[in-house]
């Protein structure tokens, strides 16, 4: 019961509960092919978003620890070059970068250079992570800088503790893992948003060989199908014709389900992240 008093636990529980209830409802009232599409889209979206979070953590940690090492050893040129590259990635609007990344991945897939299937997932996750990891790098560097500025860092150095141990164990694992975990929650949410948006844009605007044949279907791509668009139009229709509201749950279930899953997930991830930060006084 005490766990439920925590805002992040409550919202996480709410997400699981509502998603499960929605799944049961769709099982009962959504046709099988549509249900299968929605399920696959749901699993794909979350799998890629999860992998994006993992890739972001690895890239962010490597960049931050690498930069710290270069800075403390006085290797200015390499430090400047890597910082420049990261700032460049930061300057590219994420959606544009990921779009081009998707096109590149689809081209490789098409040319048969890489295998199909499961390998696409980490590739797409990497596409997204490349434009998201600078935030993780900033956080890790900020944590290292915060402790380096205080006596924490120097007190351990003069006791003979190795620098790698101070940075990785004392600063990052013991004193920053909560901050990093909180950042990963928001990275996960951002990944869901970007994946759905890119997939929607590609499905609506670009040649369909990029989407239908090459890339795993996500919730964004499903939203772009004709059926879903009509379902979403029905939501707006309900605002001016409230008596139409019950039909949304039976006749327009695919689009409503997909739209609801995207929006509700983004809201819940945000609330979980905020609640987690509040609970740990971050």
């Amino acid at each position: 019961m005490s766990a439920l008093r925590c805002e992040d636990v409550r919202w996480a529980g709410l997400w699981f509960g509502v998603t499960a209830a929605l799944g049961v409802w769709d099982l009962l009232f959504l046709n099988r092919p549509a249900f299968k599409r929605v399920s696959i889209g749901f699993v794909n979206t979350f799998a890629i978003a999860f992998m994006t979070a993992v890739c972001t953590l690895v890239l962010g940690w490597a960049a931050a620890v690498g930069l710290h090492g270069l800075e403390s050893k006085g290797r200015r040129v390499r430090y400047i070059l890597i910082t420049f590259a990261i700032n460049l990635a930061r300057s590219v609007p994420q959606i544009v970068g990921i779009l081009f990344g998707y096109i590149a991945v689809a081209s490789f897939r098409e040319s048969g250079a890489w295998g199909a299937g499961v390998l696409m997932f980490p590739l797409l996750a990497l596409c997204v992570a490349v434009f998201v990891f600078p935030e993780m790098t900033d956080l890790i560097r900020e944590r290292i800088a915060h402790f380096s500025a205080s006596d924490f860092y120097n007190a351990m150095r003069v006791c003979g503790v190795r620098e790698r141990r101070i940075v990785n164990l004392h600063i990052l694992w013991r004193n920053s893992r909560i901050h990093i975990f909180n950042k990963l929650i928001s990275v996960f949410g951002m990944a869901v948003f970007l994946l759905c948006s890119v997939d929607f844009i590609i499905s609506v605007g670009l040649s369909s060989d990029v989407n239908e044949v090459s890339l795993p279907v996500t919730l964004g791509g499903l939203l772009a199908t004709i059926d879903s668009k009509q379902d979403i139009l029905a939501i707006g229709y309900t605002v001016t014709h409230p008596q139409y509201f019950p039909r949304l749950f039976f006749q327009h279930l695919q689009g409503v389900t997909v739209a609801f899953l995207i929006v509700f997930t983004l809201l819940c991830v945000h609330r979980v992240s905020t609640g987690f930060a509040r609970r740990h006084r971050l």
């Binding site: 205080s150 006596d151 924490f152 150095r157 003069v158 006791c159 003979g160 503790v161 164990l169 013991r174």
Partner: protein, 507 residues
């Protein structure tokens, strides 16, 4: 003599942070409150003053909910008439408002003694230096810690003037709290603060509580303010058990008697050997040129030399550069100019930075930092604090418990072994901070404010342990504000003075 009694309890998520059945002080008299850091002195005073934010905390005063205490007539009157000088002056000034604006804000606007108070606190009757301070925004290094402290004290004295002016007859209750008011000040400014406080007291009594770790204030009271001793009380907050504390009288005689019994450390045979550390008098860092002197008048530059089995003590006004010197010796700051010999190695400002991690840190020299809260990994357990050190042999739990027994009570070490450092009191953290460096058994040990945050009993134990180390042949270099104690236990030949090379010693 009217005594005010309160019972206070402060808890966080069911865990008692501090609780006391009888937090009492004499009304319209001055109480000095001692006790180890982290025991709850500031929290209890803030609770009484009505300053605690209740989110996450469960606070009750005299059995009543906290919002009732804050709405109580006594609390409302106290907040109108009194002031609270907080402990860390740096964080208690708004960096985005000029100091002058902050001095004249809110209820302080009506006070007419600002120029006079600033002139006295800056010892500048014309007021030029203080006036310039008023025009700036408080930043980490400017004004200095001591100046920021004086600004907060100026606010308190302005409020006192208002109290005396507005309540000339029929005095409402007061509760002035000064939390470590002399922490960033050297003895000269500390004595100035006491003089100003007692002058204000003479204009009209008020209730004042002064929280301090500076036991030498007792000596100052007996030396310069004997006439007020019947209106002064010395109290100490001690731990009863987890979170629960009690207030007891602190015996000034006990402290003064102990101080009189101390004598300078006797030089042993090892003191005839080559110094472990020699620092040439002139050195520089961050664009400043400093010099080490052998005399209090700072006329005779002298190399700082510490031999095995000796204690050297460096004195200087606050902000002069004592800690900077220590960090230069330990290679933590790059020096503009420096020439020293450490454990037989000749080191200058041009020496490679890799020399220290390779040869010195944890092997030949160690350093205990001032603030244990910053120096220790608060998320580690007490046992984990000793992992990763370059020890000659691995320390198991039993060995750690034995080590802890040197500075902790019997049984306490075992109880604390698996506890996270953040749950220790300030005094316990400082002792752990010391032990981590002492266990390395280096030839030289630099100690920056080693008695910081300790209560009287712990001070005695730490000094006893340092004496044991000294007799074992360790060279000790001390940096401390506790001039009274270290002037007593350090031979005068081992006392050094730090100053600017051009002779400007303002901190």
């Amino acid at each position: 003599m009217s005594v005010i009694h309160h019972s206070i309890s402060i808890a966080d998520s069911g865990r008692t942070i501090v609780a006391i059945d009888d937090f009492s002080f004499v009304e319209n008299e001055i109480t000095f409150l001692f006790g180890e850091s982290g025991i709850g002195k500031s929290l209890l005073c803030k609770a009484l003053y009505g300053l605690l934010e209740e989110s996450g905390l469960s606070v009750s005063v005299d059995g009543a909910a906290y919002d009732r205490h804050c709405a109580d007539a006594w609390t409302r009157q106290v907040r109108r008439t009194s002031f609270f000088v907080f402990q860390e002056p740096s964080s208690h000034l708004n960096p985005l408002m000029r100091i002058g604006e902050q001095l004249a804000e809110g209820s302080l606007r009506g006070a007419d003694n600002e120029r006079e108070v600033l002139g006295r606190l800056w010892q500048d009757a014309a007021g030029g230096a203080a006036q310039r301070i008023c025009e700036i925004y408080p930043k980490p290094y400017r004004p200095s810690g001591g100046e920021k402290q004086r600004i907060l004290l100026a606010m308190a004295f302005k409020k006192l003037r208002l109290y005396h002016r507005d309540y000339a007859a029929g005095k409402p209750p007061t509760f002035y709290v000064f939390d470590e008011p002399t922490g960033s000040l050297d003895n000269a400014y500390r004595n100035l603060f006491l003089r100003l406080l007692f002058e204000a007291y003479a204009a009209g009594p008020f209730t004042a509580l002064i929280i301090t770790h500076d036991y030498s204030v007792i000596s100052e009271m007996y030396r310069a303010h004997r006439s007020l001793l019947n209106r002064i009380h010395f109290k100490e907050l001690v731990r009863a058990n987890d979170g629960v504390v009690r207030l007891r009288d602190f015996s000034a005689d006990e402290y003064l008697g102990w101080l009189r019994s101390q004598a300078p450390a006797v030089r042993g045979a090892l003191a005839e050997t080559e110094p472990v550390l020699t620092v040439e008098p002139s050195f520089g860092a961050f664009g400043r040129k400093l010099s080490i002197y052998g005399d209090a008048e700072r006329r005779r530059p002298a190399p700082l030399a510490v031999r095995r089995g000796e204690i050297a003590y460096v004195k200087a006004p606050s902000g002069m550069g004592k800690t900077t010197l220590a960090k230069l010796v330990m290679g933590l700051y790059p020096a503009d100019s420096l020439s020293m010999t450490l454990c037989g190695m000749r080191i200058t400002h041009a020496s490679s930075r890799s020399l220290w991690p390779r040869e010195i840190w944890g092997k030949k020299a160690g350093m205990v930092f001032q603030h244990a809260d910053e120096a220790l990994d608060l998320e580690a357990t007490v046992a984990e604090t000793f992992t990763g050190l370059p020890l000659k042999q691995r320390f198991n739990d039993a060995a750690i418990v034995r080590l802890l027994g040197e500075l902790f009570d019997a049984g306490e070490g075992e109880r604390l072994l698996k506890r996270r450092v953040k749950y220790l009191s300030g005094g316990q953290k400082q002792r752990l901070n010391l032990l981590r460096s002492l266990v390395l058994d280096t030839e030289l040990l630099i100690l920056d404010e080693p008695l910081n945050a300790l209560d009287f009993e712990s001070i005695k134990r730490v000094l006893a342990m340092l004496e044991m180390k000294r007799r074992g042949g360790t060279a000790l270099l001390m940096i401390s504000h506790n001039e009274e104690i270290f002037d007593t236990i350090v031979d005068s030949a081992g006392v050094y003075y730090l100053g600017e090379e051009n002779g400007n010693d303002q901190g």
